[in-house]
Amino acid sequence: MGLRERLLPRLRSRDDRVFFLVHLPVPVIVFMLLASMLAVILYMSLPILEREGLRVFTSNVWRPSDDPAREEYGLLAAIYGTVYTSVIAVLVAAPLAVSLAVAIEELVPRRLRGAVEVLVDLMAATPTIVYGVWGLTYLAPLMKTVLNTLHEHLGWIPFFSKPTLTGLSYGTAGVLLGIMVVPYAAAVIREAYSMIPWHLREAVYSVGATRLEAIRVLLGSVRPSIVAALVLAMGRAMGETVAVSLVIGNSLNIDVALGSPGTTVSSLIASKFKAAAYYEYMMSALFAGGLALFLIGLAVNTLGILYIRRWEEEMHGAA
């Protein structure tokens, strides 16, 4: 079968051809949109790329200057912060999301299930800025106590090697992101878990498994979906802007200590954008950050979506 037959639908009549032609703008617009998004971000980051080359991604410096010849920008701290906070987020979200999904399917009584579902929906719908306000007002002080206590007693562990003055830190940002992505990850895991065929459940229980043992076996059978859910959650965490920028402390700092302040690509863009218009190269550097975010996010999300697709096809193939 040729590429053309595989790409285009089979059009049996004139009516079908008219219908297809009317809708032809859809794929055209979608392709153009994605292509132009990438082109715009690439085009806007060209000045800084021409000036500094890949050093803009591998150095950690932020030196605006009225004299364009002295300007220098490096995004390493922001890229590091984006990856670091989203890894923390996934580590926080993974046990919570898996437990939430399984609890809704297995433990919550049928009468209460609707109420819990509403809460999970609400969790996903709550605007990220509201998470940010809450994080700044309540989570940051709590994390300050927790991180400083950990520093006092376990300070020899690199993650706890620094105390925090304000609570605005990598650790707080990562935990807040983790809380925020739980409903998305839980939804994907739950869908897969509810699709497990009955005969598998019956088989597990028929050999005398306890409920916990059964849950472990059943979770094992949806492992690809769990991986995909966490990858999607990570993509979300990396793209998040306002909530993170409120609690991360916004300083160009590369550190594994959870108590030290840092930044991410998106919060760097959010916080420097207004000033950027007054300098020659800063705006371009921010777009280069956008480019980095795009590429990391694209890679992570493509992996996640492909993983889900493959799993769905396998499930349907088996059924």
Binding site: P9, V22, V26, V30, L107, M123, A125, T126, V242, G297
Partner: protein, 296 residues
């Protein structure tokens, strides 16, 4: 009966312990949300009570006036403009795209569009903001001259439409997939063209599912902050007179005010958070009621 077999007893103990941990973690996952709902309700209600609900929803902010803190009127009007405009731009295009995805679902082209739409759903919204800034705000800025020009509510609505469209398109295609084949055949047998069949009959049958997708898309758009940072230009004191002018929005007001030092700003931000949360969760609950009615 207590089992004799010690390994069985151990397994039962582990079972109870494991299920307790599981339930505890699930509860812990919901705990932040409950605390957020509680604190937003308490702090927000206290802030709104200082000016009265009507005043809070309509008056401009006076964050430094402890007697009369005013409200979020201009930002709320800006948000309503943004929601209405982004829906007017995004929903028709999303339905169009959803029909394409659903009707040609076997063709590679349509699957590719679905895959790209799913990618766009996960696209960082701040990049959508940067995109609209470059292709729409910047040219207008260069035409009028001067930094700070060119921002408009329309630019923000374009960004929000881009955020919402891929999601709504996927939802529309899912809703159309659920329409029974017989209805399509019945329409064809009456001599209707495929266009008429899909747009007059199938969309009507799937309207609840489509409405749910549209509502959730709107709720997402209403709560977004990042795409507005570089597009609408802000300004929370003056009522926007036209969507072609710069303006504020509730999420942006919260973001800027919570970063100020004086407590007057914080109170307005909390009140605005309550308004925003009520708006978004109201839309969500409405869509949930619709879903339930479909299942019945």
């Amino acid at each position: 009966m207590e089992p004799r077999d010690p390994s069985l007893r151990r397994r039962r103990l582990l079972d109870r312990l494991g299920l307790a941990v599981l339930a505890g973690l699930a509860g812990a996952a919901l705990l932040p949300l409950l605390h957020i709902l509680y604190t937003v309700a308490v702090n927000g209600a206290a802030a709104i009570a200082r000016s009265g609900l009507v005043e809070f929803l309509t008056a401009p902010p006076r964050p430094l006036d402890p007697e009369n803190p005013g409200g979020i009127g201009p930002a709320l009007l800006g948000s309503l403009w943004l929601i209405a405009l982004s829906a007017a731009i995004g929903v028709p295009l999303a339905v169009f795209a959803g029909v394409f995805i659903a009707e040609f679902r076997r063709a590679g082209l349509s699957r590719l569009v679905l895959l790209l739409s799913l990618l766009l759903v996960e696209f960082p919204t701040i990049l959508v903001g940067l995109y609209v800034y470059t292709v729409y705000v910047l040219p207008r800025q260069r035409a009028t001259g001067g930094v700070g020009e060119g921002y408009s509510l329309l630019a923000g609505a374009l960004a929000l439409a881009l955020v919402m469209m891929p999601y709504v398109a996927v939802q529309v295609s899912e809703a159309l997939r659920g329409v029974p084949r017989e209805l399509r055949e019945a329409a064809f047998s009456l001599g209707a063209s495929r266009l008429k069949t899909v747009y007059r009959v199938l969309l009507g049958v799937a309207r609840r599912g489509i409405l749910v997708g549209v509502l959730i898309g709107l709720a997402k758009a209403a709560g977004e902050t990042a795409p507005l940072l570089f597009t609408i230009g802000g300004g929370f004191e003056a009522y926007p007179r036209s969507p072609l002018q710069h303006g504020g929005a509730v999420p942006l007001l919260i973001y800027e005010y919570i970063q100020q030092a004086q407590p007057g700003y914080h109170q307005l931000a909390w009140g605005a958070s309550l308004v925003l949360l009520a708006l978004v969760s109201g839309i969500m609950l409405a869509s949930r009621l619709l879903v339930r009615r479909v299942r019945l």
